[in-house]
């Protein structure tokens, strides 16, 4: 990894100094990278932290053996007083972790036909051999204000020794003609052996639209591939 840009601007009218930082990452592995987690710590001339930022992005796809530029600083700024008025002595500690994705189609779950009905996916599904999805349950409660009320639950267990940066559950509700009615996406990080319950939520579900509807359920886990660290000193932005 190489930090190709770490710049600061002069303090703005609020006395804030803005930073920009990006890095180039080479994916030397045979895996495609589908999630990148970046973090930056900015320290002043005394090596004391004054600000920082961390981000997780799945829109930084890096093919096997390719290189790509990733944004590290986002919308990062800090009070000029913590930097003795200028960003010239600021230093950045940057770390980047790349992750590959395992995507699994879990299956279809019928929309409960009437209040009180219950449907489930009754199986444990392995997610790339590193985690298990422990079935999906869906209870239709009493309708409220003309909308169906659902209580949907699922859980993912990290069965591996690795940290899973993101374990994601995607639920799409399709009507009887397969047109999408609504969807829910939810994700959490899962330390080794940890588990997490997912409660996909939906609002304004009109019962008539949901006759013979089905949920399409899929899940993804992102496991670490490579870790990079680098440091850089700030330069004044030319912008």
């Amino acid at each position: 990894m190489k930090i190709n840009k770490f710049t600061y601007q002069k303090p703005d009218s609020d006395g804030e100094i803005r930073f920009d930082c990006s890095a180039i990452v080479e994916n030397k592995t045979d895996f495609d990278i589908e999630l990148v987690r970046t973090s930056i710590i900015i320290v002043n001339g005394s090596n004391v932290t004054v600000c920082g930022y961390e981000n997780e992005s799945d829109s930084d796809f890096i093919s096997a053996k390719d290189s790509a530029e990733v944004d590290v600083a986002g919308w990062l700024s800090c009070d000029a007083r913590t930097l003795n008025g200028s960003g010239e002595n600021a230093k950045a500690y940057v770390s980047v972790v790349t992750y590959k994705r395992e995507f699994v189609k879990i299956g279809q779950l019928p929309f409960p036909a009437k209040p009180g009905d219950y449907t489930e996916i009754n199986k444990v599904v392995s997610l790339g051999g590193v985690a298990d999805l422990m079935g999906v349950s869906c209870l239709r409660k009493k309708d409220e204000d003309g909308s169906a009320q659902l209580e949907m639950r699922s859980a993912i267990r990290n069965s591996s020794k690795d940290y899973i940066a993101r374990a994601q559950l995607d639920v799409k509700l399709l009507d009887q003609r397969d047109a999408e009615i609504t969807e829910s996406y939810d994700y959490y990080s899962l330390p080794s052996k940890a588990s997490q319950v997912y409660n996909p939520s939906f609002w304004d579900l009109k019962p008539k639209k949901c006759v013979n509807a089905n949920f399409n359920i899929s899940a993804s886990v992102y496991t670490p591939v490579e870790r990079y660290t680098a440091e850089a000193s700030a330069t004044l932005s030319e912008d």
Partner: protein, 170 residues
């Protein structure tokens, strides 16, 4: 919509979905103290609001936000709400080629000898992925620029990548 200190995550979520087709995931975090000279709230969001900007004020409400498109993929934070409306993240040959060229632009003036091998790898990957004469022309220009601007990129490096390019041009 005006975001105030009383705005709820649910209201913001509904507004972003209805007006900009944006999904979001909220995480509750410790509330950031409001600056004594409160010039932040009410915070008006409209189509020109940059996601980064919106994300940076939500910690004052004790919220962290991730923006997702209709496929559940992250939306780049440098987009405005209007731009993010129909954002689709498509990975195709074009995307991969552009990523490589962007990386090349970012690294071409490096002063580090060890990066020269990396530059050569990026050039060779881009040549492999170039599927038109125009793209090969772009790479040719980049090679010329690197050779002219970077004194650590030797004639032997230039010849090595140029040979590779010539084979593809034939």
């Amino acid at each position: 919509m005006n975001i105030t200190l009383d705005s709820s995550a649910e209201n913001i979520q509904k507004h972003l979905k209805e007006c900009y087709s944006l999904r979001c995931k909220f995480t509750f975090v410790e509330k950031k103290p409001i600056p004594s000279k409160n010039s932040i709230f009410p915070f008006l969001i409209n189509g020109d609001t940059i996601l980064n900007e919106l994300s940076s004020i939500l910690p004052f409400l004790g919220l962290k936000i991730d923006f997702l498109n209709s496929e559940g993929q992250s939306v780049p934070m440098n987009l405005s709400l209007d731009e993010s409306k129909d954002y689709k993240f498509i990975v195709d040959e074009e995307y991969e080629f552009n990523q490589l060229i962007k990386s090349l632009d970012a690294i071409l003036t490096t002063n580090d000898y060890s990066d020269i091998e990396w530059i050569k790898r990026i050039i060779i990957r881009s040549i492999e992925k170039a599927n038109s004469q125009e793209k090969l022309k772009i790479i040719k220009e980049k090679i010329e620029i690197i050779y002219a601007k970077n004194d650590k990129f030797m004639k032997s490096d230039y010849d090595a990548v140029f040979q590779f390019l010539k084979r593809k041009l034939l």
